[in-house]
Symmetry: C2
């Protein structure tokens, strides 16, 4: 939270954003879901995938070619597996539907998996991974993304950073919720360094010739750097194959580029659910996850750290705080929301 941030009530934010999407011709339940996925990210402090996206989503829904009334449908199914066509709906609609179907199949087969095509930007992957938690399942969600990386050793922008979300049920502790891309950083973070005139940390970016750089301007003109060199690009490739090639969606550069944006209705995702009880006593599993989390808490800290967190724990603490005290939104995001609401004739209570 910075000095320009204003605390906004999460429920009021949800209501306004839902009304904005409803005014874009989305049916109520789907407008709710789309708003919920953005507010979920803001509550966890992941503002890059939060309501900051509303103006961009409004453009997609009203004149960007995304179908606000698109209905996801199952187009293929075998055992625990299925393919969903999102019907050119926003990615959240198809991915949420697909994860529900994967969970239903995991109830029967122990494990279920869904590939999604005919889709669009789907927001934070954790939103779908956590759907599995109330069912005592492990949730896995990944997506294809517009290309911003080169394969390791190359300089052509042909690979997405293809984020992965994984949620694992715990007992008394917060569940493990992992959500990250396979790049060292993101364009959004690099832009913040550029605005502040600060050099980038090592490992974030390469210039357009493929040389590591700490210059934000060279980085924005260049490539995002994968984590772990060939490891990061290899993992991103795998996520891209699962998301796009099992589903029949566009892959990498087939989807579009960062300048012109994605072509509507061509994106793809992948979601899977693993039923704990198919393998292990659920109580014992959760007790062991709790123990692993407590072992992390008990860990002595490295210089510069005052606490060690399990994946998703910091985000869960933020969500508790922001639910109680409001979500800190910056002035630009808030003004954008008010403008989006006004443009659609939606009453804005923010």
């Amino acid at each position: 939270m910075t000095s320009n941030d204003v605390r906004v009530d999460a429920r009021a934010l949800q209501a306004t954003v839902q009304a904005i999407f409803a005014a874009c011709a989305m049916p109520a339940a789907r407008a709710y879901l789309l708003a919920d996925s953005l507010v979920f990210a803001d509550l966890r402090g992941i503002h890059s995938h939060g309501v900051l996206r509303v103006p961009e989503y409004v453009v997609k829904l009203t004149r960007g070619g995304v179908n606000p009334r698109g209905v996801p449908q199952i187009v293929r199914q075998t055992g625990g597996c299925l393919v969903v066509d999102g019907g050119n709906s926003m990615g959240q609609i198809g991915a949420h539907f697909a994860m529900q179907e994967a969970i239903a199949r995991a109830q029967v087969h122990g494990i279920g998996a869904a590939a999604i095509r005919g889709s669009n930007h789907c927001g934070a992957m954790a939103y779908f991974a956590v759907q599995a938690l109330p069912h005592d399942m492990i949730g896995i969600a990944t997506t294809n993304a517009l290309p911003t990386m080169a394969p390791w050793g190359g300089v052509d922008k042909i690979m997405g950073i293809n984020p992965l979300g994984v949620a694992i049920p715990a007992g008394a502790e917060q569940p493990i919720v992992y959500d990250a891309a396979f790049s060292g950083s993101s364009h959004g973070k690099i832009r913040i360094y550029q605005q502040k005139g600060l050099p980038l940390p090592e490992g974030w970016a390469m210039d357009r010739a493929g040389r590591p750089t700490t210059d934000p301007i060279a980085a924005l003109d260049g490539l995002l750097m994968p984590i772990g060199g060939f490891k990061g690009t290899g993992l991103a490739l795998i996520m891209g194959v699962l998301s796009s090639m099992l589903s029949g969606a566009a892959y990498g550069a087939e989807l579009g580029n960062m300048v012109d944006g994605p072509q509507p209705g061509l994106d793809g995702h992948f979601a899977a659910a693993i039923q704990i009880a198919a393998f292990e006593d659920v109580a014992r599993f959760k007790a062991r996850v709790d123990a692993a989390i407590r072992q992390i808490h008990a860990c002595r800290t490295a210089p510069g750290f005052d606490r060690v967190y399990a994946p998703g724990e910091l985000e869960a603490a933020r969500a508790a705080e922001y639910t109680a005290q409001g979500i800190p939104l910056n002035a630009v995001t808030l003004a954008d929301l008010r403008r989006a609401a006004a443009g659609l004739g939606v009453a804005c209570n923010l």
Copy 2:
């Protein structure tokens, strides 16, 4: 290949190593499999998981508490999922069996998954992932490992680098075969830098206080660094949960430590298979994977690179060369093999 290396015929190497394991009381088919997994790694140039391990494996099998006659058994099954108890066999025996069972279930359910407990060191993960390829399936294999990393922000060695192997069928191109741990490097590579008196690359290690270091001695006394900071330790945690907590195996420090080694029969792994045809036309899938690989080949190179490879391609090229011209083994490994053979009364044709 360095000047001290000797080219060894892959089939002769396989035969000798198999005979060594048979002389450790392993039944022939299992001695073959164990030898094959090590020669597979050497053929791909991954000598850290190759026959260099023979002396250590002989100790495990003869007086280290691993059961050379241990038989993996299915102890639980539901739909596409199963739990295998390795019966304290070498990890390769249980993991290979489990992947075969996962593949059989993926034939029926579209996706299959196996968690393995009662196991031991299992060598290169790619060996199990590639089992899926002839069945036109995607193979996934991961394992728990002895702790060598701290969770991000900590300094206690409580996390394994828990490698992941993934194999994806291609058409005319080599299949995609990814196999890597979630650390920037390994103890083996750091030891080579120590021997040569060279500073380590950035991103490989931290000293015991959790400060990044390029000093090999401080690194060996310290911690392996994860790839991508919290991302690498998060992914390693997820692989540890899949391998140990779904199966009931030991997790991280429960298995032992790098000084005393692992406790026999407590390790765990995880293997899964995804049937392409459950989602997509197999020929179309493979053609698209080929196109993605060719896009990688066509990529302009970064400074210091003369070619861009898809994951596993360099290893496949090495395997072709080494199959034809022999596997380059260094003098120490070769002497160790001869000593192991002699100690067990096995004729050594190397």
